[in-house]
């Protein structure tokens, strides 16, 4: 009898008082990890989604977050092939630039007859072209090259692309680049929310892939290729799949960056530092081959580099070099990797 009344009163309390509902949510979250993750993700999304309303759309902080988002997406794309599959690609900047150039060329030549500026179709196509490029360079390099040699191969392919872009001036604008037909840059808001959307899509996509059978195959390949092959995993197929999806993600992000810059040229879109080493650094710093790694890494790296540039100016690349060295020397597993050291439970 007593028991029954307590229970019913609890139910009553929950119905009346919203904090009771919140409390039960927290309790459910503590019991169920996935539930907790979803709650945190939604809270973060709401926080970042409403950020422009809270501090003003054109503030520096919004620009900073936009850069963080861009780097999260690019790094997440790299993470799929470099982190989860263990094939260290050094051609990220090529896919990024291809995305941007595709956007510019489609717009300039009026190919799709849509509205172009932030057109989902154009952005998707800007992912498809790098994906095709990934197939073209992926089949020879992934089938024949292991370890470092794959890295060299992708780097060489990317450099070839850069030279082609630089040389075919009539088509790609050469070193000057292509200017997008001036759209209506209104404020940073659109860029910010699109980047946030891309972050969500990229993270969800990579997470879904890694939790599926494909992800299992990728992990197996990264741990021991021979053994994976002997267990019936088609190595080339899965490596190529990861490479293609990763390139697609990077390409779409390149498209967004092209919209942001209104100009695509080799020095900005194919910068070796910004679009190849930084995503690599972000992944390794945050934790390579983890879903949280690129997110943590991007926040840290972009914070340091953005504010480093403002505070110490010309010396800042030197400091970032020292940072890379120190991190790699003392924390090669990355920040998210430390979690496993503290609690061995996975």
């Amino acid at each position: 009898m007593m028991k029954k009344t307590r229970k019913s009163s609890e139910q009553l309390g929950r119905a009346k008082d919203p904090s009771g509902f919140l409390k039960s949510l927290v309790q459910a979250g503590l019991k169920n990890r996935i539930f907790l993750i979803i709650i945190i993700a939604v809270l973060a999304l709401v926080l970042f989604g409403t950020m422009p309303f809270m501090i003003g759309v054109d503030s520096f902080f919004i620009y900073y977050l936009f850069m963080v988002f861009i780097y999260i997406v690019v790094s997440q794309g790299w993470n799929l092939i470099g982190g989860y599959t263990g094939q260290v690609s050094l051609g990220t900047h090529a896919f990024f630039a291809l995305g941007g150039y595709t956007t510019a060329l489609i717009w300039l030549h009026d190919i799709t007859h849509t509205w172009y500026y932030f057109d989902p179709l154009v952005m998707a196509l800007s992912g498809v072209v790098p994906a095709i490029f990934a197939i073209i360079i992926g089949i020879p390099t992934l089938s024949r090259l292991r370890g470092d040699y794959f890295s060299f191969g992708t780097l060489a392919a990317a450099q070839i692309l850069q030279i082609v872009i630089l040389r075919t001036t009539a088509f790609s604008g050469g070193a000057v680049g292509l200017r997008l037909p001036a759209g209506g840059f209104t404020d940073l808001g659109r860029y910010y929310w699109t980047a946030l959307l891309l972050v969500v899509l990229a993270v969800v996509a990579v997470y879904a892939i890694t939790k599926s059978r494909i992800g299992l195959a990728l992990r197996a390949i990264s741990e021991d290729e021979m053994s994976a092959a002997s267990h019936g995993i088609h190595i080339l197929k899965y490596k190529l799949l990861a490479f293609i999806i990763g390139s697609f993600i990077i390409g779409v992000c390149g498209s967004l960056f092209a919209y942001y810059q209104f100009i695509v040229n080799p020095s900005s879109m194919m910068s070796l530092d910004r679009w190849m080493f930084y995503p690599l650094l972000i992944c390794v710093l945050g934790g390579n081959g983890t879903i949280m790694g690129p997110i943590i890494g991007a926040f840290i790296v972009v914070t340091l580099f953005t504010f480093g540039e403002n505070l110490v100016g010309r010396v800042h690349p030197m400091l970032s070099g020292i940072l890379i060295i120190l991190v790699m020397k003392f924390m090669p597993t990355g920040i998210w990797g430390l979690k496993d050291k503290i609690s061995p439970r996975r």
Binding site: P140, L166, R167, V284, N288, R314, V315, G321, I325, K329
Partner: protein, 291 residues
């Protein structure tokens, strides 16, 4: 016809520089599996050092070989024990690559801050002497550079063949696990390999400073070409790396003559990919030498 031979000779002379860089890279990669991408920037750093010794203290570039190589050897040992020891032991390629990238960043930007990004050159009184051999013009300094590069390569080759520690380096380069089972301490060997690598970078730096003008951003370019030379020659193959460098130099100068300066690099990269996919053990290597 004469201009073709001229281009060929220039290519050979320039290629020896890539070659010396590639030997260093090859030793470092062979023993520790570290892609020491900073090699090019280190070379340029030594060029600047040579430039400094010359302009501030008036030391002749060829005399400065002794202090610069000494500094370079010490730097190599310091690099190994200070930065790469852990990642070399684990054969953790991403970490070591990123550390090398970090070194490159630091070196490049240090040079930009210390010596400005403007191109510099060591201008000596004898720098303008031209030599005429069999109808081909070349400067004296380039010939001397070729001589120094060949001497250095021979020195390294003999060191690897004739001395005990050199043999240990070769053993580690072939199979580091087996050689550590044979009682070879990997750390000493790795430090020696690293020291030779940076020592050769010092020599290449002097050669570069005396023959061409240089600026801080040139380093990555050299490193990439050294990497191509290394794959052409086969890993751990000293003579092959030098030959690979020369091949690259020749291809580069021929390609810039026939198809234009900008495409030359593209051709090099195509050759790079072809070598990687078709002959990963190098042009002169045996199939048994696995990468």
């Amino acid at each position: 016809m004469e201009i073709v031979i001229q281009a060929l000779v220039n290519g050979i002379l320039f290629g020896t520089m890539y070659g010396t860089a590639a030997i260093g890279l090859s030793l470092i990669f062979g023993t520790m599996r570290i892609v020491f991408i900073a090699q090019g920037s280190i070379i340029i750093f030594f060029s600047y050092l040579c430039f400094w010794l010359f302009t501030l203290l008036g030391i002749d570039p060829y005399l400065s070989i002794i202090p610069i190589v000494l500094v370079a050897l010490l730097l190599g040992v310091a690099f190994y024990y200070g930065l790469f020891k852990e990642s070399a032991a684990l054969q953790d390629r991403i970490s070591s690559l990123l550390i090398a990238v970090g070194v490159m960043f630091v070196a490049e930007n240090f040079m930009t801050v210390a010596w400005t990004p403007n191109p510099r050159a060591v201008v000596t009184t004898y720098g303008f002497y031209t030599v005429r051999l069999f109808g081909i013009h070349t400067t004296l300094t380039r010939l001397i550079a070729l001589g120094i590069a060949i001497l250095a390569t021979t020195g390294v080759f003999l060191f690897l063949r004739k001395t005990l520690i050199g043999t240990a380096v070769r053993a580690c380069s072939e199979d580091s696990e087996a050689s550590s089972l044979m009682g070879i301490s990997p750390h000493r060997v790795n430090a020696v390999a690293f020291a030779i690598g940076t020592g050769l970078a010092g020599i290449a730096g002097i050669n570069f400073a005396t023959t061409y003008s240089f600026d801080p951003n040139y380093g990555f370019d050299i490193a990439i070409k050294a990497l191509i030379a290394l794959t052409l020659g086969g890993i751990g193959n000293v003579g092959g790396a030098l030959l690979g460098g020369i091949i690259i130099g020749v291809i580069e100068s021929m390609a810039s003559y026939y198809v234009g300066m900008g495409w030359a690099q593209g051709i090099l990269f195509v050759i790079f990919i072809l070598t990687l996919t078709l002959r990963p053990y190098g042009l002169f290597g045996k199939i048994s030498q696995k990468a």
